[in-house]
Subunit: 641 residues, 2 copies
C-alpha cells in the first residue's frame, strides 16, 4: 500500500511504495538529503525527523537516544508504515552556515496507464484444448486410432479443416493412451498460420484437462532473459521470473558474442547457454505454480537478431560484417524440445521476426505491443540497451534504425559503470552549494559503482551545478576536494573510499563523460535522421514511448536535460517497461492480436545509419550537453534559472 | 534377344529368353523332359537332340562323343544362341516300352502389356529443382539471406505462394553456402499436399545441379524390400535392388513380428532392422549409378500396415487383437533421416496409407498403379503373399479384405517348402504314364525344396495324373515307388536323395496338401464373399489382376486347375508383378497421379472376414480340388479329358 509523504520545510508531497526507503523517495522527488553510503546506515548522514506518522526502521548506533526520541531516523533505512510528515534538518556547512535543502527535480512523470497505448486484448490464445469422448472400436468400426481421434475432433469442430499431426511421440503413445484413458481424452490444438489453415495436434492427454492450459512469454535479452507464465484460460500472469543470460560468460555485448560464435564450438556453446537460461526461467516459473514444464503448451519469445540466431544455432557471422546481413529474419515455428528447451516434444517456440541485423524481434514485439501501427498518431519508440533501437511512424509507415550508442547506459565504457544491480548508484543529487552528493543505491547497500540511471542523474547534476560545462569538461576553477585530477585526467568523486563497498573512491571521469555524450549523441542523431528522412521534426511527434528496463527507470527531466531525450511536452512521454515481453504476452493470449504482428514487420523499413552522412552531421552537433542547437531544448534555460 | 524354339516331335513352338535353359522353356511350354536334379547336369537325364540352330552348352561327361556329334545335349545346361529345332528323344521305360512325350499345359498366358492397365504418366515429380542467380547483398539491399533466397524463388515462380522452410541444417548452412556458391544456387522444392499449397524447401545446393534429381521408390515387404532408383528428370529407372527384410531374424510373418514388438526393446529392434534393410537397398542403388544417398530427393514407399507401423516405430499391438485396430492408417510425411534412413536431413519419406490392419499401403499402391479406381470395368485385384489381400471394384466402389490364407504359397507349413530362391523347385511336370517328375529349379541348381509356384505345379500335376484325388488324398491303389507311406503319412517323392542338394528325399505329404487346400480355399472364399457382398458373381468380373512376385510367376492354367484362381476367360487375367513398387514409382514420377491416391483410399471399404458367416460357408465349400461346386470350374473337365 502506498503512503503519502510530505517533506518539510519545502512542502513537497510524494507517494512512497511500501518497500521504498525514505531516502529513495526523497531522491526521486528531488529532495536533497546528505547521503554518502547508499544505505545500510553506515555514514549516518541522512538524518530526517519524523514529525507525524509511523516508520519502520533499523535501530542504529549513529543516532543518540535523545535524537531518537525527537523522531530522528536515518532516511536510508526507514520505510513508511503510514502517511508521513518528514522534516529535513538543515545541515551545517564547514563554515558554520546553515544549508537549506531545496527541491531540484520533480519525481519522474508517473507512467501513464499502458492501457491507452496497448489497448485491450481477448483471451483467445494460439493453442486450445478440446475434450473428446470417443466411442470405443468394435469389428464394425475398427478404423485406426488416429482416424478415430480425428473423427472425434471433426465432430467437435465440424467447421474446421482436419488438423495436422507430425509428432512421433504422439503417434507412438496414442494407442496406449486412448485405451488407458478409456477413450476420454483432451486434445491440444495449435492454430495454423492463417485463419483457415488447419490446426496441428500438439498433444493428447488422458481425461479432462481442459482447465489447465499454460503458455510462456519470454524476452530473450543479451543480458537478461525474462519470462512470464500465463494461464491461457484466463489470460492472467501466474508467475514472472528472470535470469541473467548465461552467454554473458562469453561476452557482455552482441559483438563479443558474435566473435565467440566464430570460434571452434563457439556457436554450440552459446546456444547451449541461452537454452540453459531459458530452462532455468522455465523451472523457476513452474516451481512457483507447481506445474511441470511439459504442461506449457506454447512458448512465445522475442529477442534481438543475434539472440534469435544463437538460440536457433544459426551463425551470426555476417551480421557483424558490412553489409550486415542476417541469416534469417523470419524464424520458423520450431519444436522447443528440438533446441534442448524443457518442453513437451511437440510444443512450438515462436520467435518474433526481426527487421535487420540490429533491429530485432524485441523491437517488433514492442512496437506490436503498443500498437503504433494501429494509430494515425506519430510515435517515436526508443529502446535503450547496449544499442539504442528507435522506430518512428504510425499506421501508414514505420521506419527504424539501430544507433551504435555504445554500452554507456549499461555501464560499459564507464570506469565505475555497472549494470542495474545491488550496489549500483541509481540516483543522486548534488547539493548546489556545498556540491556534496546524495547517493541512492539499488538495494540500499553501500555503493559499488554506477548504473545507467545513476549516470544520467549524476551528469545532469554535474551540469546543473556547474561542475562540468556543456562540453562535459570539469570546471578548472572550482576548488573542491571532490573535483580533482588523477592519472586518468579530471574526475569528480561521487563516493569516498570509506563509504564505498569496494573501499576505493567511486568517481566520474572526463573520459566517462565523453563516452556518455557520444552515446546520447548517437541516439539523438538517430531520432533526427529518421524524422528528417520522412520530412518531420520533433514537434510532429505525438508520442515518445520509452521501452526497456532502462526506459522504465529513467528520470525524464534529467534525461532531457542532458539531451538524451527530446525536449517535448512531458505528457507525450510513455514508459512501457519490457515492451518485448509485453508483446509476447499479448500475442500469447490473443490469437487475433498475434496475427497482426505481420503488419508491423511489413510496414517497417530499416535504415542503416552507419554510412549515412546526415546521421554523421546530426551526431557531431549532438556532442554537447544538451545540444549545440539550444533551440531544440527550450526548457534547458528554464531549469537552469 | 529372344529366339524361337520348336520342339519335335510334337511341333510345339515357344520363344526362349537368352538366359533361360531349354529345360525351363520346355517345362513352361508343357513339354515333358525327364529331369531329376534340377539342372547342373548331375542326373544326365534331360537329353535332347539339337536338329537345327546353335546352342551354348556345358561339356559334360554324361554325354558320349558319339551322342555329342549327333547333337545330343543336356537341356538343363543349354541355352539358345539362335532359333532352334529340338527333338525330344523317346525315353525307354523299365519294361522296354518307348515313352512318348506329349504336351500337357501351354505356357502361361504371356503378361499383357501393363500399359493397358496402368496407363501413362507424366514426368512431373513431387520434387523439383530451380536454378537461382541471386544479386549479392549491399548496404541498400541487406535483407536476410533467407529472404534473399525466397525473393529469388518468388521471381522465378511468381505465381506460386512463398515456400515453407523448417529444416535446421538448411538454415544453418545457408549463409555460408550462398557466399561459397557466389550467389548461384539450385533449390529443391517439395510440392505441398494440395495444388495451391506452398512448397517446402528441401535443400539448397551450390551452383547448377538441375540435371541431377533422383527419387527412390520402395516396396517394404514382410520378406523383401525392393527399391528402384528413378531419374526424376526423365522418369527412367536407373537401378533396381532388393534385400531380405532383416526383421526376418525376429519372425517370418507379421504375427510373429507383432509378438516380438511387444517384448522389451522389441519395437526398437524391429524398426532398426527395417531401416538397416532400407539403407542396404539405398547403398546398393547409389553404388550402381555412382551417386550419394543424400542426392535422393524423395522416398516413396508402400508396405503392409504392420511394416508401416514398425518403420515409424509405432506399436502394432492392437492390430493383432480383435477388433484389429491399427494405430495409424494415414502416415504423416516424415523426414527420412529422423528414422535413421540414409538421406539428406530434409528429405521426406512417404508411406502409402493403409485401409485396415490387414489391408495395407502396398495394396493401395497396387490398386492405385493399375487404376481400378479410374475404370468402370469391375476388377478383382489379388496379391498373394503370407496373407492374401483382395480388392474388388471399379471407379464407383472398392471393397477389400485380407484372407488368412497362411504362408503355404511362401513355403510356410509345407515340409519342404521354401521361398523362391536358388534350389527351389519352381516348376514340375509328372509324366502321365510312368509318373516320373520333370524338375525345374530356380538357378538351375540341384533342388533343396519347393516354392509357391512349384507347389501349385506339383499339386496340379498330382491331380491331373490321378496320384491324388479331389480331397488331396493319395490314391492308395497306385503302386509306385514314389508314392509311399512315411512317418508323416502318405507322400509323393518329387526328388530322390541322390539328386537333391541336401541328400534327403524331397516329398509332398498329405499334410502339405491339406495346408495348400486351406490356403487356396481361403482366397477363393474371399473372392466369393466380396463379390456376393455387392451382389456380383465371377462372371461380372472384367479383369483379374495378379499382383506380387508370386502372381508374376504363377502358371495360370494350373492355378485355375487347383481352384486358386477363378475359371474365367484367360484374356481377363493380367500379371502386374510388384504392383506396390510400381505404384510408388508412378507416384514418384507424376505428381498428378500421386494426388489421385486419396481417391483410392476414400473409395475403399474394408470387410472383416474373420467373423463373417458367409466367408466360413464359402471356405468349407472350397476345401476341394478345384472346388466342391464344379460348375464354377467348367474348364476343369476339359483339361482332364
Amino acid at each position: 500500500m502506498q503512503h503519502t509523504l510530505l517533506f518539510l520545510p519545502d512542502n513537497i508531497s510524494v507517494s512512497i511504495e511500501p518497500e521504498e526507503s525514505i531516502l529513495a523517495a526523497a531522491a526521486a522527488a528531488g529532495v536533497y538529503i546528505p547521503a554518502s553510503c547508499g544505505g545500510e546506515a553506515v555514514c549516518g548522514k541522512c538524518r530526517v525527523q519524523v514529525e507525524k506518522g509511523e516508520v519502520q526502521t533499523t535501530i542504529t548506533a549513529n543516532i543518540s537516544q535523545e535524537d531518537w526520541l525527537k523522531g530522528i531516523r536515518l532516511a536510508c533505512t526507514s520505510k513508511a508504515v503510514s502517511d508521513l510528515v518528514i522534516r529535513i534538518p538543515e545541515s551545517v556547512m564547514a563554515d558554520g552556515r546553515a544549508l537549506k535543502c531545496r527541491p531540484k527535480s520533480t519525481r519522474p512523470i508517473s507512467a501513464k496507464s499502458i492501457a491507452t497505448l496497448v489497448g485491450t486484448w481477448e483471451t483467445a490464445p494460439p493453442v486450445r484444448k478440446i475434450l473428446l469422448d470417443l466411442p470405443p472400436p468394435d469389428l464394425n468400426d475398427n478404423i485406426s486410432d488416429m482416424q478415430r481421434l480425428l473423427r472425434g475432433i471433426k465432430r467437435a469442430l465440424p467447421d474446421r479443416p482436419e488438423p495436422q499431426y507430425d509428432h512421433p511421440e504422439l503417434l507412438r503413445d496414442l494407442p496406449f493412451l486412448l485405451r488407458e484413458a478409456n477413450w476420454q481424452v483432451t486434445v491440444i490444438l495449435l492454430h495454423g498460420k492463417r485463419l483457415g489453415d488447419p490446426e496441428t495436434i500438439i498433444a493428447v492427454e488422458a481425461g479432462d484437462t481442459t482447465d489447465r492450459l499454460y503458455g510462456l512469454a519470454c524476452d530473450i535479452g543479451t543480458t537478461t532473459v525474462c519470462g512470464a507464465l500465463i494461464d491461457l484460460n484466463s489470460g492472467k500472469i501466474l508467475a514472472e521470473a528472470s535470469a541473467y543470460n548465461a552467454q554473458i560468460e562469453y561476452g557482455t555485448d552482441i559483438i563479443s558474442r558474435i566473435i565467440y560464435s566464430l570460434k571452434e564450438g563457439g556457436l554450440k556453446a552459446l546456444q547451449a547457454k541461452v537454452v540453459d537460461t531459458l530452462n532455468t526461467v522455465i523451472q523457476d516459473l513452474c516451481r512457483m505454480v507447481t506445474i511441470s514444464p511439459s504442461d506449457i503448451s506454447y512458448i512465445m519469445t522475442a529477442g534481438n537478431t543475434v539472440m534469435a540466431h544463437l538460440l536457433l544455432g544459426i551463425s551470426p557471422k555476417f551480421i557483424r560484417e558490412s553489409p550486415y546481413v542476417p541469416g534469417l529474419s523470419l524464424f520458423p515455428l520450431t519444436k522447443a524440445a528440438a533446441l534442448g528447451i524443457m518442453a513437451h516434444p511437440s510444443v512450438r517456440i515462436y520467435l518474433y521476426p526481426c527487421v535487420s541485423s540490429y533491429v530485432g524481434g524485441d523491437i517488433i514485439a514492442g512496437v506490436h505491443a503498443c500498437q503504433i501501427h494501429k494509430s494515425r498518431d506519430i510515435s517515436l519508440f526508443i529502446d535503450i540497451g547496449t544499442n539504442g533501437e528507435i522506430v518512428v511512424g504510425n499506421s501508414e509507415w514505420l521506419i527504424c534504425a539501430a544507433c551504435s550508442a555504445g554500452p554507456a547506459f549499461e555501464g560499459g565504457g564507464i570506469r565505475f559503470g555497472m549494470r542495474a544491480s545491488p550496489g549500483a548508484i541509481e540516483n543522486c543529487h548534488i547539493h548546489p552549494e556545498n556540491l556534496e552528493p546524495m547517493i541512492v543505491t539499488i538495494g540500499n547497500t553501500p555503493p559499488r559503482g554506477i548504473c545507467g540511471s545513476g549516470l544520467i542523474a549524476a551528469v545532469s547534476e554535474l551540469l546543473a551545478t556547474g561542475i562540468i560545462d556543456q562540453r562535459g569538461k570539469f570546471s578548472r576553477e572550482l576548488a573542491h576536494p571532490r573535483i580533482r585530477r588523477s592519472g586518468d585526467g579530471w574526475e569528480f568523486v561521487l563516493v569516498w573510499s570509506h563509504d564505498s563497498l569496494t573501499g576505493e573512491d567511486i568517481s566520474l571521469t572526463e573520459i566517462d563523460l565523453d563516452n556518455l555524450i557520444r552515446a546520447k549523441g548517437a541516439l539523438f542523431a538517430g531520432y533526427q535522421t529518421l524524422l528528417a528522412s520522412v520530412g518531420l521534426t520533433f514537434s510532429d511527434l505525438d508520442r515518445v514511448i520509452l521501452a526497456g528496463n532502462f526506459g522504465a527507470h529513467i528520470d525524464l527531466e534529467r534525461a532531457i536535460s542532458i539531451g538524451l531525450l527530446p525536449d517535448l511536452d512531458r505528457d507525450r512521454f510513455f514508459y512501457l517497461g519490457n515492451a518485448s515481453l509485453l508483446g509476447c504476452r499479448i500475442s500469447l493470449t490473443d490469437q487475433r492480436r498475434f496475427s497482426e504482428r505481420t503488419e508491423v514487420r511489413e510496414l517497417m523499413t530499416n535504415m542503416e545509419l552507419s554510412d549515412n552522412p546526415d546521421f554523421m552531421n546530426y551526431y557531431i552537433a549532438a556532442l554537447f550537453l544538451p545540444h549545440t542547437d539550444m533551440a531544440l531544448f527550450p526548457s534547458a534555460g528554464k531549469s537552469k534559472s
